[in-house]
């Protein structure tokens, strides 16, 4: 069982708290095992039943949803899956409440932290607590300015059953490695990571490009504050600032690369054009924008389509479903990138060696959208 790297800013669970957290981790693994059976149930029973009454197979994921959610076994699994998510957060909140967020007081500091408490919270973060984390990234009713960052760090291990690795960094590890291989001669001096959360993906970019100046922004104070403390504890120099990716205060043309990891699906349809336009403004000519997130729907397997959207319907990931259906590349072109400079990319998944040594989930790769600013 993969445990988080117990760095100096990570609250340490008591024996019983660790047992509660590990329980939910394993509950989710077992529920994932139960979930596998639904493909057969659908094929053998649900779809034939639908055809019998309707005279045709379901025409989209919505019709599959109506049929599946009427099934009592699916109801039971789905309820347990939802509660596993809630119990996962609760189990780490116990630890953060009891211990607070330790301050390793790294001196001299490696990076910087700039908070902006007056920054308005966008509706897409305020309307619901994304993936059911109580208080969301911004902390909600929590008075502790860093607590929800630590809650997120510890909770992600449970949500992903450890597949993000001991430092929740798998995405940044594979995207920065992909970039280094794709652009061996690129002059990379200044990088911006948007929607950086606790910096899980940011730190690998700094480690891959140690000479570069790395900036990281997020709209929520607690994860930025915790992200800074965590980066210092891990000995990685990153400049964190609390900013909205739709409008930042950085100078035009001041970055070589602007990147994000699983940020787009936690924004909104109206935010996307503003984010892409801001990226275009921030890049120097020849600079590269990369947004790694869920790719568009491919194929016509309505059952898989429905199951892929479990998180949308049950885990407060409201925009995830929409993002899969809109033409993101067209929006990037509208934001100023030349059509022949916009494409989709895939950062290959972790090596078998890294899967073994770091406990990373074994997957084929992270899809992304790329826009290159014309020279």
């Amino acid at each position: 069982m993969l445990k988080l790297h117990q760095h100096a800013a990570l609250p340490k669970p008591s024996r019983d708290e660790a047992a509660r957290q590990d329980y939910v981790h394993d509950l989710r693994r077992s529920l994932a095992g139960v979930r596998v059976g639904f493909a057969g149930l659908y094929q053998d029973r649900i779809e034939p039943g639908f055809i019998k009454t309707q005279g045709r197979p379901p025409k989209d994921r919505h019709e599959v949803r109506h049929a599946m959610t009427a099934n009592p076994h699916y109801q039971l699994w789905s309820a347990a899956q939802r509660f596993s998510q809630e119990l996962g957060w609760e189990s780490v909140i116990d630890t953060v409440e009891a211990r607070g967020v330790p301050d390793p007081e790294v001196k001299p500091p490696l990076g910087t932290l700039t908070l902006d408490p007056a920054l308005p919270l966008p509706k897409y973060h305020d309307a619901q607590d994304i993936h059911l984390m109580p208080g969301g990234y911004h902390g909600g009713e929590a008075a502790d300015p860093l607590a929800n960052g630590a809650v997120f760090d510890m909770g992600v291990r449970i949500w992903g059953t450890g597949g993000m690795g001991p430092e929740n960094d798998i995405l940044g590890v594979i995207t920065s490695a992909w970039f280094a291989a794709e652009y061996p001669d690129f002059n990379l001096k200044r990088i911006l990571d948007m929607g950086c959360s606790i910096g899980g993906s940011t730190l690998p970019w700094k480690r891959t490009f140690p000479e570069a100046e790395v900036h990281a922004i997020d709209v929520a104070g607690p994860i930025i504050g915790y992200g800074h403390r965590r980066a210092e504890a891990l000995g990685v120099a990153v400049h964190f600032s609390q900013q909205n990716a739709e409008h930042t205060n950085f100078e035009a043309g001041s970055f070589d690369v602007v990147v994000s990891h699983i940020m787009l699906h936690e924004t909104s349809r109206s935010a996307l054009p503003r984010i892409f336009a801001e990226c275009h403004r921030l890049l120097r000519p020849g600079g590269i924008m990369l947004h790694f997130d869920i790719g568009p729907i491919v194929g016509t397997n309505h059952f898989q389509d429905f199951m892929a959207e479990w998180e949308v319907l049950n885990n407060n990931e409201a925009f995830l479903g929409t993002l899969r259906k809109i033409d993101v590349e067209a929006l990037i072109v509208e934001a100023g990138f030349a059509p022949d400079h916009v494409s989709r990319v895939i950062a290959p998944g972790p090596s078998q060696e890294a899967v073994k040594s770091k406990g990373y989930v074994n997957f084929t790769g992270a899809p992304g959208y790329r826009g290159i600013k014309q020279s």
Binding site: L41, H73, N148
Partner: protein
Amino acid sequence: MSGTILQRTAKGRRPRYLDQQSNDDLLRMLLVTVQELSVTRDRLAALETVLEQTGTLTPQAVDGFEPDAAWDDSRSLARDDLHARLFRSLSAAIKTE
């Protein structure tokens, strides 16, 4: 205690899954109960390990127990076994309905 009080309930839609709300609540209560059973089993295992290693028990020995990876893995296997039995009827019903 750090004195920090955090939000415990997520803002947003609360779907109902089973035929009535109270059954959703019952399932949640069941999962919390099984969770606490698992916590107790882990604590017992920690106690046994401490006794085996030191031959004695001090008041903080179990709370201060630092498991190694092999111990964590053995507890994880025990939880998998618990879940296999907990979900056996559900998994079987999904396969053979």
